[in-house]
């Protein structure tokens, strides 16, 4: 195993543990937005899709770059937009129209 792979594996395992720790605290109420947020985060694969362009100099390469960029961009933009849309609906009080301050109990 190369040093680079060991480094990558270390990062992977630590990130997995951080993920379990952080996500375990998300309440069930927010599980749908959580999944949708997680969805947008894995849209980071867009970086990988764009990087295909660095070495793509053939038709196959271009096609793969195009499809990957399309998929990943749909994932990122759609994911963040829909997560934001959902979270906007979660309100503490029933009256959304009046944005006046509501004193706590």
């Amino acid at each position: 195993m190369s040093t680079a792979l060991v480094t990558d594996l270390t990062i992977f395992v630590l990130a997995l543990l951080v993920g379990i720790e952080v996500i375990g605290k998300v309440p069930a109420t927010l599980h749908t937005p959580l999944m949708s947020a997680a969805n947008s985060i894995h849209g980071i694969v867009l970086a990988g899709a764009l990087l295909i362009g660095v070495t793509a100099h053939s038709v196959v390469g271009y096609v793969l770059a195009f499809v990957a960029a399309f998929f990943a961009a749909a994932n990122v933009v759609g994911g963040y937009a829909v997560t934001g849309r959902m979270l906007k609906m979660f309100r503490r009080k029933a009256t959304p129209a009046a944005p006046k301050e509501t004193p706590g109990p």
Binding site: S2, G19, K25, A56, F66, V67, V82
Partner: protein
């Protein structure tokens, strides 16, 4: 690593940190929106850094720039469009589609990486191939599996489990082909072998999800979400990009946790769900409960009297509520009751809906304040204090048979609806739930059945409660409930 690439890696680490902080802020509805913004900012930074990297590399051809920019713009437009117009009831399909494209993109990144290495080096061998193969397999399975799941949720493909003769054998064969070809790649660089891996994995994804029934979708979506995350992390290994590794691991963890929560909430093992169970007809042992003979039905006026004189009402919504698009109707009824000083809360079972937390989003959309949405562990102790439990479109998750041994749902955690002082069940017919067994709750002497479509029933009850309130002398309203206590 020269100083330029080091700086870019640092930016990627910053982006990864934003993702973690963003997810952390999702631990409360009050901060969740900020969390999404932080995460979005991290993503923007990562994408800009990538573009800088592309420019710096200087090897991107004109056609290369054109295809990636047009691809990304078209993808963004498609994503934005679907995010804007999607109905909240259709969220599970959309999330599935995002899983599909994410997994697909991750697989393509690995396929390209392999092709490129294969053509430029004498041969691609060793550990790189392991992560490449894993990425290709997981990404491809996720791609077709998620498409099938989305099709089932949308109703394009039947929600019933599709069990093909010899299907399991075919699954095993496909898995063997995919893994076998991948193993071959470890010793011999071969593009055709990689394509066989891709095709076998794509077919496996279809075959894996087809036999799974609609009620198991919360588990399937969570699992595919975990798969996508893992595929993206593997893509990070392939191109040595830490942002992808961290983001993929986070999503993998999230999907994994949700998968476990969902499977636990149905008291079924993952293997049991994947292999197929409910609805395939061989596992459910129907328990003979002569339910039909003893059920009591109720009309809107009587239901309104029960509700109108209660001091605490717990609403138990299930997928039937969403299917009938009745979430706004239930919110309206709850509002009328609250105006009378009645305490209303919602008991949300973890698998109410078609994906984790789906019911909460549907009710939030109907303007129900989130403090009223209670999780199972939180609400169960409150049922004995509830005057009325109003069950709408929920079935198996309220069946006391789960507490006994020997039924199809034994051991499944349920909402303790039968502990309430009285129970009103809104249901279209006596048809059984997904588990295919009678619900003993309906035969309970405390239970009244209201046979109607959820939306219509709620509208009738709301009207009846309003009439009742109007008929009452004003003095009746001044009870201990409407005094400052509340």
């Amino acid at each position: 690593m020269n100083s330029f690439t080091t700086n870019i890696q640092l930016v990627y680490i910053l982006a990864a940190a934003c993702f973690v902080v963003g997810l952390h802020l999702m631990n409360s509805p009050a901060t969740a929106r900020r969390g999404n913004q932080v995460s979005t900012a991290g993503m923007a930074v990562a994408v800009v850094a990538t573009l800088v990297l592309l420019i710096h590399a200087g090897t991107v051809t004109g056609i290369g720039w054109t295809v990636i920019i047009i691809g990304a713009l078209l993808g963004s437009a498609a994503g934005l469009q679907s995010a804007r117009k999607v109905q909240m009831t259709a969220m599970p399909q959309l999330v599935s589609m995002f899983n599909a494209v994410g997994g697909g993109a991750a697989a393509l990144v690995a396929v390209y990486g392999y092709m490129h290495d294969e053509s430029t080096k004498a041969g691609v061998l060793g550990t790189t191939t392991v992560t490449t193969a894993l990425d290709v397999i997981i990404g491809s399975v996720t791609f077709t599996g998620s498409l099938i799941a989305a099709g089932k949720l949308q109703g394009v493909i039947t929600g019933q489990p599709v069990v093909l003769r010899g299907g399991r054998l075919l699954n095993v064969a496909l898995a063997v082909i995919a893994v076998g070809s991948a193993a071959f790649l470890l010793t011999t660089a071969s593009l055709p072998a990689l394509l066989i891996v891709v095709l076998a994995a794509l077919a496996f994804g279809v075959m894996m999800v087809l036999p799974i029934g609609g009620a198991d979708m919360p588990v399937v979506i969570s699992l595919l979400n975990a798969f996508t995350g893992t595929a993206v992390a593997m893509a990070g290994f392939v191109i040595t990009n830490w942002a992808l590794i961290v983001a993929g691991a986070l999503v993998g963890a999230s999907g994994g946790i949700l998968t476990k929560l969902m499977a636990d909430a149905m008291n079924r093992s993952l293997a049991n769900i994947i292999i197929g169970g409910f609805g395939t007809g061989d596992s459910a042992l129907p328990v003979a409960v002569a339910v039909d003979a003893q059920v009591k039905s109720v009309a809107a006026d009587d239901a309104a009297i029960q509700l109108g004189y209660a001091s605490k009402v717990i609403v138990v919504p299930g997928y039937g509520l969403a299917a009938a698009q009745a979430q706004h109707a239930v919110a309206e009824l709850a509002q009328v009751l609250q105006d009378r000083g009645i305490e209303v809360s919602y008991a949300i079972h973890p698998v109410a809906g078609r994906m984790p937390g789906h019911m909460n989003v549907l009710l939030a959309e109907a303007n129900v304040p989130y403090p009223q949405l209670k999780e199972m562990e939180e609400i169960n102790p409150e049922f004995p204090r509830a005057d009325v439990a109003l069950v709408i479109g929920a079935n198996d998750v309220t069946n006391p048979a789960a507490r006994r041994q020997g039924t199809a749902i034994s051991g499944m955690p349920i909402l303790d609806v039968d502990q309430a002082k009285s129970i009103i069940v809104v249901k279209r017919s006596m048809a059984s739930g997904y588990a295919g067994i009678d619900n003993e709750l309906y035969a309970n002497p405390k239970t009244s059945m209201y046979f109607a479509d959820a939306k219509k029933a709620l509208a009738e009850m709301t009207a009846a409660v309003k009439t009742l309130v109007g008929l009452l002398p004003t003095g009746w309203l001044i009870t201990e409930r409407t005094l400052p206590l509340n």
